[in-house]
């Protein structure tokens, strides 16, 4: 390309090729178009506006096409070719747009017509268009704007379309909606039937992607049964109710049974009359997909009729697969739920059986227990030298055997007591001694717990009858209880006698019992929930048993307790045996030790911290690697929470043996902490634990979204249906009652791990679904913290899930300091998000890398199904392109308005710079124009900025840009610039952005669009300037320079732009008889046309007056003349003939506003007579004529309506105002008066309409020029006298003036021209309303008078001064002037 870069900075006339250089590829194809065959002609001849538009188009990276000229000839750029045009390229270039887009012309044609006829841009979002660009009719969606393109004269001759294709988005959203709805609320769907009905309802809502669907479920025999359908009427041959299990049916069942999907063409008979869904024509293919079951044969299959207007691409196939996957998952879930239900019922049944078993045959335990305990004791003693591991295991067996025995014994005791079969044997004892012995058994345990232990026993006066075994249980239970609930302080046992009773107290400084619990303290199985204790082990039967046993002894037990201080149990037993059944009395026996104490003690010791616990655990867990069941393929990680160390060890061994990874903790809170830190695959927890129990643990896990999905298996010793249901309701996934078989535990564990994996498959599926959204997805908690996002979110904003949760203020908010406006917008939107149930907003946000984005978000509040808490779920998409398109539209509109309103090029430029400054919030915008042979001229938003004021670097850069390519944005660190052509040369626009903001690709596009528009606008404004100047020059040249008769003043003022010149005129004609014709007229219309009409009428009128026609006659002749001239009709004219001697005026008015006559006394007279209609309205009709006299020193004002007519004001007000203006100018000469009137009446913004004005003050001033000879004095005096008479002055004034003037003239003759007699002397006399003004001027120099000599000359000056009010003599090289005024009384 060649471009002239000479000093003229003239844009080179584009050669054919240079128009297209902005894009090499598209440009070269455009250059190959035979443009001569198009209405646009060869590119060399294209107007600047078209060239500009084409360069903008080609240089843009945004998808655009444009059409220009009568055929709307088609152009497009590379992005449009790529995104939309497809196979139509390059065929489409240079063709009529109607041909290029024939298939959618019905849609877009009317829009283009609107743009072309109104010049207003259109905006369509996501419009559905069926394109034929890929070899088939394709469903596509487009967001686009058509804006007008104007030629060099401003007329709309084409259109530009900026388009972004939304097909992917619209279809993606539609599919996502279906998938979302499918997963919307599965919690209400329980059974398979319910699920299928629900799913089909959702599928039916999307008949665009799924015109019809069939869901078949496979039966065991391989046949298929139609479970549900959408879109099809019942009984259609393509939808048989059952299909055989071979290939003979309509659909290929065999292939599907093997898990393959099949694409079935829908051509043959059974497929006739298939529904079309939302489309004009039915599907041509159906995709048939198996409903896959994990690890099994498919549940069935889905037949999906396909939208024939979309290709079955990966996206479409993926969508249908996701639908099928979701259907399958739903079926799996429903079936799994049904199975769970059944199992829960079975469990309840089992619990009932266990209870019966326990209550009926508990005693059967005693035998095996004995058989266990016996050999174990033996082994313990025999293997005392064996390795630690063996001993440790034996200890476990021993301890738990004791414990079980104790529990069984207690239960049996109860059943005996209840059955009345308790065999007591009461013997007289020293209760004090027996009790102290029993208590001392606990000393070691209590010492180990760091408590103070006191036993006070005083000798009792009498023996007390007790059954030793029972008494042991009483004391040991009480001590065990005290130790369990006492963490510091002391335990105190005392025995003493009170009256006839022995009183035994066991007091502790433990946690105490809440007052509310006191009444139920001794109730059987009653346990105080949530009490802090050393262990949560315990059956709740200890105290109940104590009470029963004490009761059997005829005694009582009471408790008093203060919460937080301690508890005291008081047992009172009567002395003697009178209260006991005699048959149960026995003689005293000595030597029975505390044989039953061991289980209590062993149990208590296990509650206390074990210094070697971790070692022991490690040893145990490493011990057993034998498997109970098949190992899971991937090791699952299991957390065990149990306060019982044995149970922890036992479970660990069991699970490790099955290949699980195990961690253990000993209470609920530790479990919660561990799960939060590192989520396991399964939690096994005991229900009863100190601190946070199992149910509490489950509840806590479920409320935290992070841990809500962790499966929990609860273990409990509490049997029974209600306990089980309570556990499941709390959210546990399974519930296992102790004692349990290892195999059962492992089976449950495996089932739960697998279920969890299925669930996490669901979760993964959900994540995949969310991630596949093209829109960004997010979930906010109640405080607005973002707790979940998807991949599109990361793509759009750059923030990754690693940073979750994102607390408000979110990091993508625009900075409050540098961009407070944007920050405020986001703040408002955020408030909306927190407070409204749903809504949407569009906000600016900042990408992690700092760049600005605009997003439109929609959100809904929802209930988190796991936690029940309110969350907000939202999606948003990147609307940056749309935002900028709208911004472009409005910026172009704003610029267009500035350009249209501007009345001159400088104004257009200044206004445009202001638009640019505001748009980019720039510090300053400047335009530097280089014109050949002149300095560079700067216009800037900073008023008064000059080229010299710029820094040398800036000047250098701008100069460089001036030589650069046109319409190509350039950047530097502090701003951006662009070079455009200017009517007077080349112009650089520079936008000073300060140093804080990047100039993006969007900004560059916008700048080049606006710069192109500005260049066109300036060219247009320049043309208008020139036209206007031409018209005004023409008008003025027609009107003047006037050879005005004396006494007249005239003015012509064009209207304020853009109305500008009109058809007003004035004229004066010297008639042969000395009279003067006066004309003021006003043609309809404006501009050159009106000026032309005016010129003809003016000439005609002048000619008619010269023929000695009277005013009426002249106007009547003009009626006929005007009738023959286009545009002359309705012209208004005031026509008059004035006798300047007498002031006599004959006049006639053709619809013209009345003349105003202002008399010397200030009163005004309107020349209202002689009026008739405007010209050519009634040709041939007689016109009236009237006469009046203009008195001396009166002023006649003739004008056109522009002078007095104002909107919303009566004409008379304007006329009054004009009269006042004339009156106010009584002291000035008539020409100054004209200026005065024009300025007085001009509205603040200038005249709306053009104005012609004519003033005459009677009489006209006298002007006499005569040779400097004394003989001239008499004739001059005569003329002056006559004029003074016309002025109607009093005689003595006349005489004074005559003498004064005479003296001045004599001086001029005598002194001014004594060396050059015959030179001209000038006298001028003008009468103002109250004043008379005389001037005598010569070209000579007065001699300085010598005193004594020529005393009469001095006397002459004295006379002048005496006779006139003011005399000024000005003497200079050019001559001497005498100015004199006198007031007219």
């Amino acid at each position: 390309m060649e471009r002239s870069q000479d000093a003229g900075c003239e844009v080179a006339a584009a050669t054919g090729a240079s128009v297209f250089t902005a894009d090499e590829e598209i440009g070269s194809d455009l250059a190959r178009v035979d443009w001569s065959a198009t209405p646009l002609g060869l590119p060399e001849q294209w107007p600047q506006s078209l060239r500009t538009a084409v360069s903008i188009l080609l240089s843009s990276r945004f998808s655009m096409w444009m059409a220009w000229g009568p055929d709307l000839t088609f152009f497009c750029n590379a992005a449009y070719r790529r995104d939309t045009l497809g196979a139509k390229y390059p065929w489409a270039l240079g063709r009529p747009a109607r041909e290029v887009w024939a298939e959618i012309w019905d849609d877009i044609g009317p829009r283009i017509d609107t743009v072309m006829s109104t010049g207003k841009a259109t905006w369509d979002e996501g419009l559905l268009l069926f394109l034929e660009r890929s070899g088939y009719t394709e469903e596509s969606y487009h967001t686009f704007s058509y804006s007008p393109l104007r030629d060099d004269r401003g007329a709309v001759v084409g259109m530009l379309c900026v388009v972004s294709e939304d097909t992917e988005r619209v279809i993606g959203e539609r599919r996502m909606a279906t998938l979302r709805d499918l997963g919307s609320d599965p919690s209400v769907v329980r059974t398979e039937e319910e699920w299928l009905a629900f799913a089909n309802q959702q599928l039916n809502a999307n008949r665009r992607d799924l015109p019809f669907t069939l869901t078949y479920l496979l039966a065991d025999d391989g046949s298929a049964r139609l479970a549900d359908s959408t879109g099809l009427v019942e009984g259609h041959p393509a939808a048989p109710v059952t299909l055989p299990g071979d290939a003979s049916g309509v659909w290929p069942v065999t292939a599907l049974t093997h898990g393959e999907s099949v694409l079935v063409p829908l051509e043959d008979a059974p497929f006739a009359g298939l529904p079309a869904g939302d489309w004009p024509r039915p599907p041509s293919h159906a995709l048939v997909l198996p409903l896959l079951q994990q690890g099994g044969s498919p549940y069935g299959f889905l037949v999906a009729g396909l939208n024939r207007y979309r290709a079955l691409d990966d996206g479409y196939r993926g969508f249908v697969e996701l639908v099928a996957g979701h259907l399958a998952a739903g079926i799996a879930s429903a079936r799994s739920y049904e199975a769970q239900q059944r199992r829960a019922e079975e469990l309840a049944e089992l619990d009932r059986a266990k209870t019966t078993f326990f209550s009926n045959i508990s005693h059967e335990f005693r035998t095996p227990l004995t058989l266990i305990m016996g050999p174990v004791d033996e082994l313990r003693s025999r293997l005392s030298g064996a390795d630690a591991h063996v001993r440790e295991e034996l200890e476990v067996v021993h301890r738990n055997g004791l414990r079980l025995g104790k529990l069984v014994n207690s239960l049996l005791d109860f059943s005996r007591i209840e059955a009345g079969r308790m065999q007591a044997r009461y013997e007289p004892t020293d209760l004090s001694l027996v009790t102290a012995d029993l208590a001392s058994v606990f000393r070691s345990a209590i010492d180990k717990a760091g408590l103070d232990f006191r036993i006070d026993h005083s000798e009792l006066p009498e023996p007390v009858y007790i059954d030793r075994g029972m008494w042991e249980k009483v004391i040991l239970n009480l001590l065990s209880n005290a130790l369990k609930f006492t963490f510091d302080g002391s335990i105190h046992v005392s025995v003493r006698a009170v009256d006839k009773h022995a009183v035994v107290t066991v007091a502790d400084t433990g946690i105490g019992v809440p007052a509310a619990e006191m009444p139920r303290l001794f109730e059987r199985f009653h346990r105080i929930e949530n009490a802090r204790s050393r262990s949560n082990e315990g059956s709740g039967i200890g105290l109940a048993l104590v009470k029963e046993l004490v009761g059997l002894h005829g005694g009582t037990i009471t408790a008093d307790s203060t919460e937080g201080e301690g508890t005291r149990f008081t047992v009172t037993l009567p002395f003697g045996s009178a209260h006991l059944p005699p048959e149960s009395l026995a003689p005293a026996e000595n030597g029975r030790g505390a044989s039953t104490a061991d289980p209590y003690l062993q149990e208590a010791l296990r509650w206390l911290p074990d210094e070697d616990a971790s070692d022991a655990r490690t040893a145990v867990t490493a011990a057993d690697a034998s498997g109970y069941a098949a190992s899971p393929s991937v090791p699952a990680r299991i957390l065990v929470a149990d306060d019982n160390a044995d149970m922890r060890e036992y479970l660990t061994r069991l699970l490790k043996g099955s290949g699980y990874q195990v961690r253990t903790v000993d209470d609920g809170l530790s479990a919660l902490r561990t799960v939060r830190a590192d989520t396991p695959d399964l939690v096994i927890s005991d229900v009863m634990m100190p601190g946070l129990d199992g149910l509490g643990l489950v509840a806590a896990l479920r409320t935290d979204p992070q841990t809500a999905s962790v499966p929990v298996l609860l273990l409990s010793a509490r049997a029974g249906q209600e306990a089980s249901i309570e556990g499941l309701q709390a959210g546990a996934d399974d519930y296992l009652v102790k004692p349990f078989a290892a195999a059962e535990l492992l089976a449950r564990v495996r089932a739960n791990v697998e279920l969890a994996r299925l669930r996490s498959h669901q979760a993964r599926w959900r994540k995949a679904l969310v991630d596949s959204l093209q829109e960004a997805f997010f979930v906010c908690d109640e405080e607005g913290a973002v707790i979940e996002i998807n991949a599109a979110f990361t793509d759009i904003l750059g923030y990754t899930p690693d940073g979750l949760p994102y607390q408000p203020v979110h990091p993508w908010w625009p900075d409050a300091d540098t961009d407070p406006e944007a920050h405020r917008e986001v703040d408002e939107a955020f408030a909306q998000l927190l407070n409204n149930p749903k809504g949407f907003y569009t906000i600016p946000v900042t990408h992690r890398d700092g760049h600005r984005l605009w997003v439109t978000a929609t959100f809904n509040q929802a209930q988190d199904p796991d936690t029940g808490r309110k969350v907000t779920v939202g999606t948003f998409r990147d609307v940056t392109a749309e935002h900028y398109a709208v911004q472009r539209e409005s910026a172009q509109a704003a610029l267009s308005m500035r350009l249209t309103q501007a009345t001159s090029s400088p104004e257009a430029l200044a206004g445009s710079l202001a638009v640019l400054k505001e748009l980019w919030r720039a510090e300053c915008v400047l335009a530097a124009v280089a014109t050949a042979g002149q300095d560079i001229a700067v216009t800037a938003t900073d008023a008064g900025l000059r080229w010299q004021d710029l820094s040398p670097e800036r000047r250098e850069r701008l100069s460089a840009w001036l030589d650069g390519p046109l319409l190509t944005p350039a950047e530097d660190p502090s701003g951006a610039g662009i070079t455009v052509s200017h009517p007077k040369g080349t112009m650089v626009l520079w936008i000073d952005l300060g140093d804080h903001r990047p100039f993006t690709g969007e900004d560059q596009l916008l700048l080049s669009l606006l710069a192109g528009q500005l260049a066109q606008g300036l060219a247009r404004a320049h043309q208008i300037d020139q036209q206007r100047e031409t018209a005004i020059a023409l008008q003025r040249s027609i009107l003047g320079p006037a050879d005005l008769p004396d006494g007249f003043a005239v003015r012509y003022e064009p209207a304020t732009p853009p109305l500008e010149v009109g058809g007003d005129w004035y004229d004066t004609v010297r008639l042969p008889d000395g009279r003067i014709g006066i004309v003021v007229g006003d043609c309809v219309g404006r501009g050159l046309e009106a000026a032309t009409v005016m010129g003809q009428l003016r000439s005609a009128c002048r000619a008619l007056l010269l023929q000695d026609s009277g005013p009426a006659q002249t106007l009547m002749a003009l009626d006929h003349f005007a009738a023959g001239i286009t545009g002359a009709m309705c012209t208004t004219v005031f026509c008059g003939v004035l006798d300047p001697e007498t002031g006599n005026l004959t006049y006639s008015s053709a619809g013209h506003p009345p003349g105003i006559l202002t008399l010397p006394d200030g009163t005004t007279v309107l020349l209202n007579d002689g009026r008739s209609v405007p010209l050519a309205v009634r040709p041939g009709r007689e016109r009236p004529e009237s006469t009046c006299t203009v008195p001396a020193r009166a002023t006649l004002l003739l004008y056109t309506d522009g002078l007095v007519e104002r909107r919303r004001r009566p004409l008379t007000a304007g006329i009054d105002q004009a009269g006042e203006a004339v009156q106010a100018g009584r002291d000035v000469a008539v020409d100054d008066l004209a200026t005065h009137v024009m300025s007085q009446l001009a509205p603040s913004g200038g005249f709306d309409d053009d104005v012609a004005l004519l003033l005459y003050r009677h009489p006209a001033p006298l002007e006499v020029a005569f040779p400097a000879e004394s003989s001239q004095l008499a004739p001059v005096r005569k003329a002056l006298r006559s004029w003074l008479t016309q002025c109607e002055l009093p005689p003595h004034t006349v005489q004074n003036v005559l003498v004064a003037a005479g003296e001045a003239c004599a001086n001029a003759i005598e002194h001014g021209h004594r060396d050059a007699p015959g030179d001209t002397v000038r006298l001028r006399a003008e009468a103002l309303v109250d004043d008379l003004h005389l001037t005598v001027a010569d070209t000579g120099r007065w001699r300085t008078p010598h005193p004594g000599e020529n005393s009469h000359r001095g006397r002459g000056v004295a006379l002048m001064r005496a006779l006139m009010h003011q005399v000024t003599i000005t003497s200079g090289t050019a001559g001497t002037t005498v100015d004199m005024h006198t007031r007219i009384a």
Binding site: S1270, L1273, A1274, G1302, L1359, A1362
Partner: protein
């Protein structure tokens, strides 16, 4: 051409010489006025009743002879005569008066 001025000498009934001027007196014809005055001797009455214009040139001629002249003038000339001070130095009679 000089301004029209006729100067007619006569003798008044009281024997005093009288010069009657008709027309206008300006610098173009003051010589004639001067000559006419100088051709007379002794007291002189100059009748300016028919003079429509008198400027400073005429006045200066009259000033030269102020000691022996009396003037007859209409109110039209009064301002000139008074302003110039001539009226203070000589006697100005109204028409038809002494």
């Amino acid at each position: 051409m000089t301004t029209l001025l006729t100067l007619t000498p006569s003798r008044r009934p009281d024997g005093v010489t009288q010069l009657t001027a008709v027309g206008e007196i300006d610098m173009s014809n003051t010589d004639a006025l001067a000559t006419a005055i100088e051709t007379t001797d002794g007291p002189l009455v100059i009748d300016l009743t028919e003079v429509e214009y008198l400027d400073s040139a005429g006045l200066s001629v009259l000033f030269r002879h102020v000691d022996r002249i009396q003037l007859i003038a209409t109110p039209l000339l009064a301002p000139v005569l008074e302003v110039s001070g001539l009226a203070d130095l000589t006697t100005v009679h109204g028409p038809g008066g002494a």
